[in-house]
Amino acid sequence: MTTVILLTATGLGLAALYFLVASGLSLIFGLMDVLNFAHGAFVAIGGYVGWTVADQLGGTLGLFGALLAGIASGAAAAFLTEQVIIRPLYRRKLDQVLATVGLGLAIPALLQAIWGADARTWVLPGWLAGTVQLAGARVPTVRLVLIGVAVGLLVALRLLLTRSRAGLIVRAGVEDREMVTALGIDVRRANAAVFALGGAAAGLAGALFGLYQGSVSPGDGTSLLIYAFVVVVLGDAGSITGTAYAAVAVGLVQQYADYASASLGDESVVVLLAAVLLLRRRNLQGRPA
């Protein structure tokens, strides 16, 4: 029983990371039809900027500073990317892919040039480095923090999307951008806001991934991005709740499969993705195929 609890808690911790990365990706793809392959770079930026702040300040103050710095740097990087690179390419899908793939390769290389290729160790505050007793299982505290942050983000995004005018515009834009503009609403502003929001979540994920691993390295974002894309496909782009369910499914399946055999984790995610794609009758944005 304790093994089940431990696997479930650690699987949910992994799911939380996937949700943090995938939520922004999902909103960006759902609203703007932009497949942003540079999203992993925002994760890496958040990780390195967060690590730098944590390293400078140290302790619990450093931890909270790192999370805020991760959010701010991810949002700023995403906003700049939308303004400078994506905006001129909205009607040129192939160029978008090429540009974001290029950026997704260039930014980790830049981070490597600044901070070096070796992983930087992230020293956790004492209270975060330990474990918490949960029904007999000793669950790493950092996993519970990840789950808490992801749940908080889910609630915040749900409130934003359902209770605010900005959220209303985003939800309408996911359905029919053309009609939103015909109502006199400047969708470009919504696009920039969604990109920044997605970048903020990615930057936060980068800092939390540093805590999760106890280190940051230039390829962190790229490795998470693959799973985030799987989550977006499974959860229907543009649906935050769907993204959350999909992240939980991927995290738990991967964790349990890894427990069965260390080599099965990644393969199980691919099998899950293939099964869902074969069985469902909708496209990536949840519309009938």
Binding site: R171, A172, A182
Partner: protein, 250 residues
């Protein structure tokens, strides 16, 4: 195609609010509009007619800036061509598209809220609910679950929340039962008392009761423009331009 302009048109008796001059649109390498020119009067309803696929919806979308075009689109003396759609809409051009454009996953109230002016516009809401009482009753219902007629009422009601100077309404009675189509047409007639309408419509009985002017397109060109009444009272002309007999269309 020869243009057969009739003399007496409201467009010539009242100032033109919207003027299209040599409007050309190409989509996917194919030319859809080949230099369309006509004007929309600042009062009443101007009907844009023609068989399927002649460019009526393309014209409407070009006016809204949803399709790139060349030529001139002047609205109250201001050039629209090159302006983004949201800026065109903010000038006071309201658009009800052929597919109604309601946001299916949003509730009726949320669909309306998207269009409401700053400050809420309580009076505008009252006017919309007066025209379409069903929208008040269905406020909490997802728009995608409404009937076709109710969705059309929502699409029209939503745009009426804005401060419009011109409405572009594309096939408002398409696919509706005669009773609901009559209800929608009656509401649009009420609206047209205060806001001019560029109406794309296949139902000639609706056109007859509403439109002062008519412009007929054929293969991306203006084939006829003039008084709607004159056009619709000439069976031979109607049959030639629109491919329908008056008996069948009435």
């Amino acid at each position: 195609m020869n243009e057969t302009a009739t003399a007496a048109t409201a467009a010539t008796t009242s100032a033109a609010l919207l003027e299209l001059t040599d409007l050309r649109v190409s989509l996917g390498g194919s030319a859809i509009l080949h230099g369309v020119s006509f004007s929309v009067a600042s009062v009443g309803v101007t009907a844009l007619l023609g068989r399927n696929g002649v460019g009526k919806t393309t014209t409407a979308k070009a006016v809204l800036g949803l399709y790139p075009s060349t030529g001139s689109l002047r609205f109250d003396g201001r050039e629209l061509n090159g302006m983004p759609t949201h800026a065109i809409a903010r000038l006071g051009i309201g658009y009800v598209p052929e597919d109604r454009g309601v946001f299916a996953a949003l509730t009726v109230a949320e669909n309306l809220r998207l269009a409401e002016p700053r400050g809420g516009g309580a009076a505008a809401y009252e006017r919309v609910y007066e025209l379409f009482p069903v929208l008040r009753l269905r406020a909490g219902q997802q728009a995608g679950t409404l009937s076709g007629g109710e969705q059309q009422m929502l699409a029209i009601g939503r745009i009426l929340l804005r401060r419009n100077r011109l409405l572009v309404v594309d096939e408002p009675t398409k696919g509706l039962s005669p009773k609901v189509a009559a209800e929608v047409a009656h509401a649009l007639k009420e609206v047209a008392r205060s806001v001019p309408i560029l109406l794309i419509e296949q139902n000639l009985s609706v056109v007859r009761t509403m439109a002062a002017d008519a412009v007929v397109l054929d293969t991306g060109r203006v084939a006829h423009r003039g008084a709607a009444r004159a056009l619709l009272s000439d069976p031979a002309l109607t049959n030639r331009l629109l491919g329908v007999s008056q008996a069948g269309a009435a």
